[in-house]
């Protein structure tokens, strides 16, 4: 059969000619994209779990101090909050992170034993704790990691608690969390009478009022009734709390550094390749190739590196996410699933990296004088 030469085939042959260098470059961009997929996937997974946490419990609004990390609100305002006409239920809650063992730290929630938030949990054994008693309930994932069952004890900050129940949480965050009576967490943190905030369920929106408008109105009413406090929509709170923002910033920052390394790797490979193939570029120009076609050939080579490297990176990143979702230290906040959006985004970034990296070598190759290029040894 007659061998047909296509433009992409030509580019691939040029890359395949220096197999080791091509493979090393692919590893470089693959690692960079892998880091992007794993880190950004991690942070998005974290955000997603927060969103699910709010939606599964039916919380519409979180009332907090201005600062989430150190939010401290007087529990005594609960009555005023419940008196706001749009509020159906308002539950005080404490959020914290504590070391359970030297290897495992977990999210700690402090709830009242009659909180509506229990509705999103299904007990696989035992049941709710009781206010005022040194009891706690564990998410299934955490219970498994700690090898605890109902009736066992757990040491927290020097105090001993009995496991009253083990629940299947609606989210990985809940499944890897420990929930205690609100007063017990207040004792542990020496913050009697203080809570992190309130989770609010709104009454049904009046007929004719859109959910978005109703939510905004409710926020405004709560903030007017409780000056100095912040009433945030649950979805907004899930996306914009400082944990998620920090996770996104770290993920993107680290990914950008890794991507820069990957881009430099491709640029170096393409620059070397152009230098080594100077005479060949001269031949192409001599036999009628226009400068832009030479530029395109080099760009296609760089893009192929980015494209193939992207797939390698996605596989590596997905593998890393899978591993993180199984590690006790991170299982509570990472899910191993990789969304199509994230897949396409990673591939697009990888291809774009190839295009950026190939730009200068391509320009240089295209602007070589044919005569000078043919003379090159």
């Amino acid at each position: 059969m007659t061998s047909q030469l296509t433009f992409t085939g030509f580019a691939w042959k040029n890359l395949w000619r220096r197999r080791l260098r091509t493979l090393l470059t692919l590893c470089g961009i693959g690692m960079a994209i892998g880091a992007f997929v794993a880190l950004v996937g991690f942070s998005r997974s974290f955000e997603h779990e927060w969103q699910r946490l709010y939606s599964s419990s039916g919380t519409d609004i979180a009332v907090v101090d201005k600062n989430f990390m150190n939010s401290s609100v007087d529990q005594s305002i609960q009555g005023r909050l419940r008196a706001v006409p749009v509020v159906e239920q308002a539950e005080p809650m404490i959020f914290n992170i504590m070391d359970i063992t030297p290897e495992v730290n977990a999210i700690i929630f402090g709830w009242l034993d009659d909180s509506y938030e229990f509705n999103s949990l299904t007990f696989s054994s035992g049941g709710r704790f009781h206010n005022g008693k040194p009891e706690l309930i564990l998410g299934e994932m955490l219970a498994k990691n700690l090898d605890k069952k109902v009736g066992d004890t757990v040491e927290l900050q020097g105090s001993t608690f009995t496991v009253a129940g083990i629940y299947a949480g609606g989210t990985a965050l809940e499944s890897g969390a420990v929930i205690l009576p609100l007063d017990q967490v207040q004792q542990l943190t020496s913050l009697q009478g203080k809570v992190s905030g309130f989770h609010v369920r709104l009454k049904a929106a009046p007929l004719g009022e859109s959910p978005e408008h109703y939510l905004k109105r409710a926020q405004a009413e709560i903030e007017a009734a409780l000056p100095g406090l912040n009433a945030q929509g649950a979805a907004d709170r899930a996306s914009n709390n400082q944990f998620v923002t920090l996770a996104h910033a770290v993920a993107w920052g680290t990914s950008c550094i890794a991507l820069l390394m990957g881009i430099l790797g491709i640029a170096n490979t393409m620059a070397m390749s152009v230098f080594e193939r100077t005479r060949e570029i001269g031949i192409l120009r001599a036999i009628g190739w226009k400068a832009w076609r030479v530029m395109m050939l080099i760009q296609v080579e760089a893009t192929v590196l980015g494209f193939v490297g992207g797939f390698i990176g996605i596989a590596v990143g997905w593998g890393a996410l899978h591993l993180l979702s199984r590690l006790p230290q991170t299982a509570s906040v990472v899910s191993s699933s990789l969304s199509w959006d994230h897949f396409v985004e990673a591939l697009a970034i990888s291809v774009l990296s190839g295009l950026i990296a190939g730009a200068y070598p391509a320009w240089r190759g295209a602007h070589l004088s044919p005569v000078e290029a043919l003379r090159h040894d």
Partner: protein, 221 residues
């Protein structure tokens, strides 16, 4: 009298900021379908003249006209090289990663969009060169004579009107040399193409109907 296909007027080319003068005012007219041999000692400027005729380089002063239109101004050099010129080099300059048939397809990539058409044409040209049995060999699997025949097929890929050959037999033994010259003259006659050969072999130069000698950057005869 018909106007020349290629014409050079007062052509000068210098390098190294004018310190080296490769061509010092060359005038030459070549008619369509003519077979011209250009000879001269090493450094006489014959390869520089060929590069300027082929649009590979631009002169320091003077001009090269193709069918009365100056190269580089009224005629785009890339387009001129792609459509009017076929280059044959002493060192063959085949692309090592490509098979013989693929090498011949390379010049056509900017001219024929259909890859099947390119492949069919490349095969036909290689068969014409007696290389039908070596289509899928890589350059390093071919003898020097075979490589030059592939290079000739590549030069003919876009059906140019002018063939420029720079020492086409310089790397060949006498048998292959004779065979390559036979092919080149055969093509020139059959297709009515203009053939300009740079050579230092008197025997080859004598076979050409027109012989141009160049010395110290000027045409002697």
């Amino acid at each position: 009298m018909t106007s020349p296909q290629l014409e050079v007027r007062e052509l000068k080319k210098s390098y190294d900021e004018g310190r080296i003068e490769a061509l010092r005012g060359v005038d030459l007219s070549i008619a369509a379908g003519e077979y011209v041999a250009i000879t001269g000692a090493s450094g006489s400027g014959k390869s520089t003249l060929l590069q300027l005729l082929g649009g590979l380089d631009t002169p320091t002063s003077g001009e090269v006209l193709f069918e009365n239109a100056p190269l580089g101004t009224r005629i785009n050099l890339d387009h001129y090289r792609a459509h009017q010129i076929g280059f044959i080099f002493q060192a063959f300059y085949l692309l090592p990663t490509l098979r013989a048939i693929e090498n011949v397809q390379v010049p056509m990539m900017g001219v024929f969009k259909n890859s099947t058409r390119r492949a069919d044409r490349a095969e036909a040209l290689l068969c014409e060169m007696g290389m039908g049995h070596r289509l899928n060999q890589y350059p390093n699997e071919l003898s020097a004579g075979e490589r030059q025949r592939v290079a000739i097929a590549r030069a003919l890929a876009n059906d140019p009107s002018i063939l420029l050959a720079d020492e086409p037999t310089g790397n060949l033994d006498s048998v292959n040399s004779a065979h390559v010259m036979e092919i080149l003259t055969g093509i020139q006659k059959k297709r009515g193409m203009t053939l300009i050969i740079i050579t230092h072999e008197d025997e080859i130069a004598r076979c050409a109907p027109r012989h141009v000698r160049i010395r110290d950057g000027k045409i002697e005869s």
